[in-house]
Each structure stands twice: as structure tokens, then as C-alpha cells.
Symmetry: D2
Subunit: 275 residues, 4 copies
């Protein structure tokens, strides 16, 4: 079998050696390994891909036992296992379309059993991909209750806000730490609040961008996963900026979802380590 | 002769026709022409390069007379005439070096008769290029008086702040509207205030940038001329960001100075039109 | 009405003045104007957007009469009129999907009455967008005859090869000069022939790209319209390069189609002028 | 002490474990570790930064002994030790200036005891940085003999061709495998031979680039280290392309030299692995 091990722990001597010993102990071979020690938080993070003749429960036990003394946070899964996501949308389709397209193409190793929205607009698009669509009720507490239920019933690993134009409650956000990915239509830091492309136009910027980040209780302030930009000229109207922005948002969100699905994102305080 | 005409006026019918008529009237031929009507300010801006057998005073009179009814703001100069700049620096050399290097190479059509600084650090570098170096006094009013004097005595067209780590008084800034170019070590908007690369690191951004802008009385809020960015990873320390930032700052400031020197920057409210 | 005038002629004095005079003569106002004189071919090209109270036939006659002495190549059309395209595909959907998506979004001012393919694979995708799909016969002469017929019957302005994996005959290409846009999965120049991403991998390049170009009889050698690139690392497999390449191809082809649809591409010998 | 270990060997089980065991055996701690298995060549490459209380000879012996069974190619050096380079130039200064500037700034951990050139043009620039300048004789065999002598006498680790406009003999190139870095003023592949920017202009490309690569006997065909590009418009003359190209060449060569100086480049056949 082929498995992905991720490990986060306090930096200390002998971590990699413990990992390599444990891998040997389960007859494994290291296919890929990436590690980083964050000097600010003194966290050590590692992502290792392992091949072994043994089963997942077997290597899982051996690795967990061999690394337990590091007091780590560990995940182990088969490389081919797909993470399960629900996508929340409102009316705009560009980010959702890109996710569905890349998934169909086999480039995005995620399962999307369900798309939820507070509007009906994208039902046809979602259902044409053979995915279930559910309308959320207008009351925030009821909507979040329905999302919570969907997460449980569908064994969901993470939630993607693909231009979901609602602010989630702090309580909801804290229930899913580093499990909700949002696309923000601006740099972070950048223009805060509404109509960022209009603000960008008014300010006369020559570059616009978008940011994919984890959602925390503090709006637009979660750890940044991925950012990208495009150069724009004086001739671009706010509408042109919105169109250019759509292309950036789409790319940045899909990239962040792919990184998450491949266990390549690690938290170190308010920052991310990306392998 | 070969001349550059720039024109800014309220948008109104017949502007280009008045220009082409005037160019014909002075036996001229249009080599390049760019124009833009800014919908926000309703300003029309135009940059035209003209060839003519007549002298600069002759074509200047014909063009000014032929365009006077538009109540425009006009400039006319020989294409080969170089704008004259003074450069203000503190201790960091990267932006200054790039300006001097590009000027020597013939890529930056400016004359730099003088570099002023509030520290001695860069004197040797400046003088090795055969350029005069003057130390500014520590008191802000005396320093600005000395800069004003230097501008007058050297027929200076614009002032370049190449990492000049002093805040100019509002009075000084307003004396040179759209004539002072600063390089800001961040996007605008972005991290305000000191140590932006440390702020960028703390925030965990994946992209850093720099902004060249005109200086107004409102610190870091003048019209943006040019911006550029670089992608950075979690492994970059604040010091790495500073090094990457130096390369962006250097490129962005030199580009802005070149645009100014070639009369390619127009103001429309708080935004710039760049040809 | 609002119209786009394009003009190409030998460079000569008085062209812009003739245009502005003709625009005044039809009570018009110039909204946008771009021009360029290509020093290599001595061609003058201009794209002008005009507002007028008069009808298209009226301003068309006035402009054509007023500019006839320049012996120009001219086109005049309503700004809101959409160019009509057919898209040729084989099995890969990424470029086609992007065109259909941008068209639905209103960002691509084209009409696509028909998609033609030498395989059935994309029929469902095309028909789900309410667009007719036609299968081409395997014999090249019959296939090209069917395309020719489709062009005539649907008043087609240009042909888009969205990963159409057939080489068109020289005769066919010459029938549609500067009217067939292809996406090439490489820089031009770059890797010639098949499997360019495998070649790129074998050569160990750190950047890959794609090129949209007009098709001429000389394979992969037509005038370049648009190019873009992405950085790639040693870890990218040929399959990764293909996936990254898909994203570049998609963006580059859609950009080129948009430029064509907006009359922003001019030919000057084997090069393009892009406004 | 702080040391960099690099290792290249045939891929086989237990490599990382052998490394971590050896590091423990010399009381070391792993600060950074990067590894990659190249599927094409089946080579395993690893770069490890180690902290230890022991001396360089001590850890060097322990590591070499502990890894010997892998039959590896190994290098171990103090992290602060600077690699020594000679730079070969002709008349153009932009790449040399950038290397000298970055070195002075402390961003380029190399020692440059000597610059050699077949022309006198850059003597003053070199000597103003306190570096020795030597003129090479016109005969190729004598020039290469002088370079060989300089390499020996100055304990040189690598040779940088910073726009050195001479073709080195195959014999010379093979004497320094993966030790000569050249900057090529084009993509690879791309325009071969002379005047690539003129060729790029004639072909009407929308992107130009530069490539830093190791020099092999086969001209312009060595393993690629780094590439970068810039977008260019139809308005750019060949001279504009040359100027834009200078900026790309400069950045790309300095980046490649930095990667080499930090032991981040590994060869895998004709490709490079870059950490």
C-alpha cells in the first residue's frame, strides 16, 4: 500500500530518526519526505509518503507507537483515499465550476457529495454533474445547523466556501479549525469589506489579487494558504477588474483545495507551511 | 525635430481633430499617439510624438494656439531632451544603484546632477559615478530648504525618493505635485507603517510587493504609478523577504522613473493613466 | 450608435487627421483610439471606437469615403455586434469548456452556433450548452468540405481550434487567412511536433508555456497572438506538466479569442499588433 | 558547528534512516532536510543541514562511514564556508554588476577572487570592487590554459560565464562537469545561435526569456538550472527586447549562482533537481 503520514510536534532532536526507524519497522520505504521547522513557533512539521507491503491498520499502529514519545499530532491515510468536501455557494458559479471540472478531470483528489447554497441559482449546474444540491434556509442558525448535519451525515473532511456570501458565526468557525477554506477577492491584507474591486479601481492599483485562507472566527484574518495576482491597467473598469478577479479567484481556490486534499497544508500559529 | 506633446483637458468633442489639424499646420507627422478618456473624472489625456521640419518654438506656438480653445494643460518638449532629477537617499543603495546603472547604460533618459542624503553612507558610490553628493542637515526644515534650493539651482523636473527614510512635510509635498516619486516597500494598500516585511512574515503572506507612487501630503496615499510582486514561501525569513523585496523595489522604482522621464504618466484624480 | 472602426494602410502623413475629419463629418465622437506604425513593414494600423447619432450605413459610407484616398483596409461594425465562431475540437474539453463558460458569463462577445469534432466525446458537453454539435467524417477532404459548408451556412467570422488534433490542409488554411486561431501547447519557438510536455520534461525545463496563433499553411508557424507560461519544478512529472499546461492553454486561447472578437488583432507581416 | 551535507546515490531502501542514524551518531540535529527520488534516473538526492557540537572533520568521518554502504556521492562543508568562483566576462556589464552588488550586500555567499575577460572594458568596474582583473589572450587554447591556471591557484569551486562571448572547447567543458554556469539569452529550447532578441522580434513573440544552465561540450544544451521570462508587446523594438532581456539575464544568472553556492543544485542525467 501507499500512504501519506503527516506529523506536527514541538521541535526536538531525533524526530526524523524516529520516523525512519518506524518506517523500517513496518517494512516501509520512503517515497517522498518534506519537513520544516518553523523558527517562530518552534513547531516541526513533516509530510512523508510511504510504500509498504503491510496493511494501513498495521503501519498505522507501528508508526503511531514509534512516534508517540514525540507527543505529535499525526494523520495517516492511504494515498488514494479521497478527502470529502462540501461546497457552499451563493449565486456566482466560477469557483464551483472550476472545482467540478478539475474533479471530473481527475486533477482534484476530492469527493464532493453535496453542494449547499442559500440560493437556487446553481442547482441545475450542480445536478448536471450528478451531485446533490441542498437549499439552505435564510436564518443563519438554521443554515449552520443544516451544514453541521450535512458534515456529519456525509463524513465530510473539509468545507469549501466557493463565493459563499454569508458570514459564518464564530461558533461555527471554531467548530472546524483549519477545515474551512474561503476565497477572498483581494490580497490579505488589502481592501477590507465589500466591493473590493471597486475599491481597487478607486485607489488606482496596478495589481489585483485573491487569497485562499482558512476561516477563523476573525473575519478575513485566517491563515493564508495561497495567493495570486494579475497586473491591471488604468483602462480596466470595475467590471473588468471583477472579470479578471474571477479568473484569479478560481485558480487560487482550486489550488488551495488541491493542497488540502493532498495533506500539504500545515498550521504554524497564524501562518501556513505548504509542501 | 522630434517632439513629445502631452495634453490633458476636460473631455469634449473634437479634441483629436484639433490636435491633428494643429500638427498638419506645423508640417508635422504623428509618429505615436495614445489617448484615454477617464470615465470617473471625465478627463481626456493624450500623448503624441510628432516629427516636423520646424523648430521647437515654432511647433510649440502652432500647437498651443490650435489647442487653446480646449483649455488644456499642455507640455511640449524635444524627445531627446532629458528630464532632470535629484535623488534623495538614506543608507540603502539598491534603488540608487539601479537608477545609476540604467542611466549609464542609456536606458533611463534622465540627468541626475545631484544626490542628497541625510547620511554619508552612499557618498563614495555616488561620487564614483561622477555625480555630486550633498549631505542634508538633520533638521527637517533646513533639509527641505536645502532640497528646494537644489531644485531651483539645478532646474530639476522631479524628485526621486530612493529609500529616503524621512517623512517630508505636507508643505514640501504640495510644492511639487506629481513631481515626487517614492518607492513603498509594500502593496498599497497593504501593510502600513514600519517594518512591512516583518509584518508580511507575521501575517504569513504568500506574495510580497512594492509600489512606486507620487508623494502627496497624505503619507503613502499618493497616486500609484507602478507595482510588482514576488511569490514567497513559508521558509522565507523576514530577512529573505527584505532581500526579495529589494529586487522588487529596485525594478518598480526604475520603471516608474522611466515612465515619468518619457512623459507617460498622467494624473486623473487620485489615479494614474500610464501610456 | 457605438461602432468600431479598424484601419490598416501604408504609413503616410495625415492618416489620423483624415480619420478625425471623417468622424466629425458623421457627427461622431471618438471614445477610444489606438494606433501603431510598424517600422518593419511600414504599415499603419488603427482601432477607433466612435459614438454617433447616425446609423451604421451612414457613418460607414462617410468614413469609407473620407478614408478612401489612403487605400486602406477597413472594417466598421456596431460595437455590440458579436463575431460568429465555430469551434473545432477532438476529445479534450478544457479549452472548449472555458470558451463556453466565458461566453455564458458575457465576458466573450462571440456567438458559437456550432461545434465540430472528429470524435463524439464532447457531444454531451456541447449540447448541454444548447449548441449544435456535428461529427466530422474521418477523411480530411470531406471533413474540410463540411467545415467550409458550416462556415458559409452560419455566416462564420472565424474558426477556433480548441485542441483540434488534425492538421488542416494548406489549401484550407489559405482560404481563411488570419481567421483560424489555434492553441499550441508550447512556446513558439519551442518544442516542435508531438508530446511537447514529455519533451519539456526530458529537457528539464523550468518554465512551460502555450501559444495562441493564427494558422497558416506552415504548421505551427503562423503569427503569434498571445503567450503565457508557468514555472515548473523538477518534481513535476510529464502528467503534471500536461495538467499545468491545460490551465495555460485554456487561458491563452480564451484571451486570443476575446482579442479577435473585439477587433484588437492586426497583422503586420508575420507579426501581430495587439491593442 | 553548522554544516551542509549533500548526498546522491542510486535509490534504495533505508537511505534516510542511514542518514538520521549517522547524524545521531555524531550528536547532530537536523535543521533542514530535502530529498527527491528522480523516477527517470532512479537517483536519490538529499540536502541536509545539520547542527552539531563536534568539529567538521569529526562529523564528516562519522557521516561518510555511516553512509558508505549506499555508495553515494557526498559533500560536507560548513554552512558559512563560501564557495569560490571566477567570473568570465566580455564587454557587457549587467550580469557581473549584479553578482558583485549582491555579493557586497551579503546575499550571495560566494568569494570572487578574480574576474577574467578577453576585453579590457570592465577592468575599472572590477577593480573598483577590490577584485583582481586579468586579461585573457586572444588564442583560445592560451585563454583556457590561463583559466585553468587561475582555477588551480585560487582554489576555485565553479566558473560563472557572465555574458562571456566565447565558445569554450569541449575539452575545457568536460574538465568542469556541473561546475560552469552560463547565462543564455533565450529560453532553452528557443532561438539558437546569434542575435536571439532580433530573432524573437522577427518572430513576433509575446514573451522573452533567459536560461541559466550548466555548460557541457554540447553548446547551449547543458542541464537547465533556472529560467525566467517577461511579457513584451508589438511595440518593443529589438533594442527594447535587449534591454528587457538584460534584466531577466541578470536575475536568472544571480539566482543560479546563489543556488549553486548554497549546494541546492543536483544533477539527474541532463536535468537538475533544485532544492
Amino acid at each position: 500500500m501507499d500512504a501519506i503520514l503527516t506529523l506536527t510536534c514541538k521541535d526536538q532532536p531525533g524526530i526524523v530518526h524516529s520516523m525512519t526507524s518506524s518506517v523500517l519497522a513496518c517494512g516501509g520505504n520512503i517515497i517522498e519526505n518534506q519537513q520544516f521547522t518553523d523558527p517562530t513557533t518552534e513547531l516541526f512539521v513533516m509530510r512523508t509518503r510511504i510504500e509498504s507491503e503491510q496493511s494501513l491498520p498495521e503501519i498505522s499502529k507501528t508508526l503511531r507507537d514509534g512516534l508517540a514519545h514525540l507527543n505529535p499530532s499525526i494523520s495517516i491515510r492511504e494515498t488514494s483515499a479521497k478527502k470529502r468536501a462540501i461546497v457552499l455557494v451563493t449565486k456566482e458559479s466560477h469557483c464551483l465550476r472550476d472545482l467540478l471540472y478539475l474533479q471530473e478531470l481527475g486533477e482534484l483528489p476530492v469527493s464532493i457529495p453535496l453542494v449547499l447554497s442559500n440560493h437556487e441559482d446553481l442547482r441545475a449546474l450542480v445536478e448536471s454533474h450528478g451531485i446533490r444540491f441542498e437549499l439552505l434556509p435564510p436564518q443563519k442558525d438554521e443554515a449552520e445547523a443544516q451544514i453541521n448535519k450535512a458534515v456529519l451525515e456525509n463524513q465530510i473532511d473539509f468545507i469549501v466556501l466557493a463565493r459563499y456570501m454569508q458570514i459564518l458565526t464564530e461558533e461555527f468557525c471554531e467548530k472546524y479549525p483549519a477545515q474551512i477554506i474561503n476565497i477572498h477577492h483581494s490580497f490579505l491584507p488589502g481592501f477590507k469589506g465589500g466591493k473590493p474591486y471597486h475599491q481597487a479601481h478607486a485607489r488606482g492599483v496596478k495589481i489585483i489579487g485573491a487569497t485562499a485562507h482558512f476561516v477563523t472566527g476573525d473575519l478575513d484574518e485566517g491563515p493564508i494558504i495561497e495567493q495570486d495576482v494579475a497586473h491591471v491597467s488604468h483602462a480596466a473598469t470595475p467590471e473588468d477588474l471583477i472579470a479578471i478577479g474571477r479568473d484569479i479567484e478560481r485558480r487560487v481556490l482550486s489550488k488551495a483545495v488541491k493542497l488540502f486534499a493532498e495533506d500539504r497544508i500545515f498550521l504554524a500559529g497564524n501562518r501556513t507551511i505548504i509542501f
